[in-house]
């Protein structure tokens, strides 16, 4: 048995104002072995065309502290590039965990995609 893989699907959506939003839809596990999927996918985004990024955790089955560390690295890289990152789809438990470790200072957590998109406007 091994860890389940991390899947990341990238989509472009538009918020109400018409501005483009890049959505990274995570699925499966986010753990120490997820770096290529998480940071590799993020690294493929253009800072010029992906100014607004949404992280979708609604299909994540397992997230541990090593996976959270990857999200912190993503947020750090995004802050360096002037990108705004918002988050939705976290379970109440992981909303609590994100708040505990202080991530919510650097990404807002929304209950669903519509609210997260509206949060950019």
């Amino acid at each position: 048995m091994a860890e389940f893989s991390t899947k990341v699907k990238m989509e472009q959506v538009k918020c109400a104002s018409g501005d483009p939003i890049t959505v990274l839809r995570f699925a499966g596990d986010i753990t120490s072995s997820s770096e290529p999927a998480v940071l590799g996918t993020y690294g493929g985004l253009s800072p010029e065309t992906s100014k607004r990024i949404l992280l979708d955790f609604s299909k994540v089955e397992y997230l541990n502290s090593s996976g959270i560390a990857l999200i912190i690295q993503l947020l750090y890289a995004a802050s360096q590039k002037g990108q705004t990152v918002q988050t939705f789809g976290l379970t109440p438990h992981f909303q609590k965990v994100f708040t505990m470790v202080g991530i919510t200072k650097y990404t807002k957590i929304y209950p669903d995609e519509a609210a997260a998109c509206a949060g950019f406007d």
Partner: protein, 148 residues
Amino acid sequence: MDGENVNSVIELRLPSRLGFEKIAMSTASSVAKLMGFAPDRVEDLKTAVAEACINAMEHGNKLDESLIVGVFLSMNETSLEVKVLDTGTGPPEGVHTPDMDKKMHGEEASRGMGMFLIQSLVDEAEWVSAPLTGSYARLVIRLNKTED
């Protein structure tokens, strides 16, 4: 469980391979549900047990798959205790509260939050260093704790 004087221990022996902590998570979850813990407390316990197992595999047993991580779940009427044993010397320092500002400025490693999460999510947590016999993390959640 029916409130009788139940005092039982369940023991797991896991290889030090990342991913196997899920077995401990699932077992702890099942036991906590049987004991009547609220769903949010079960989630707290699952994360705490997973982090303790990962620490034992990575830091205690250095990911040597031939070394076993022992997980002992001891239940009584009011609490569930989980001990996670490895062959290491125990954590070199105490619980470090993550500083997100430092992490976001590259001044602190993004990892290293496991012990903090464990301590934050359970009612009691301690780390016992015993290099000769094996070190362990001990976690306790109590049934009478009111929900946050």
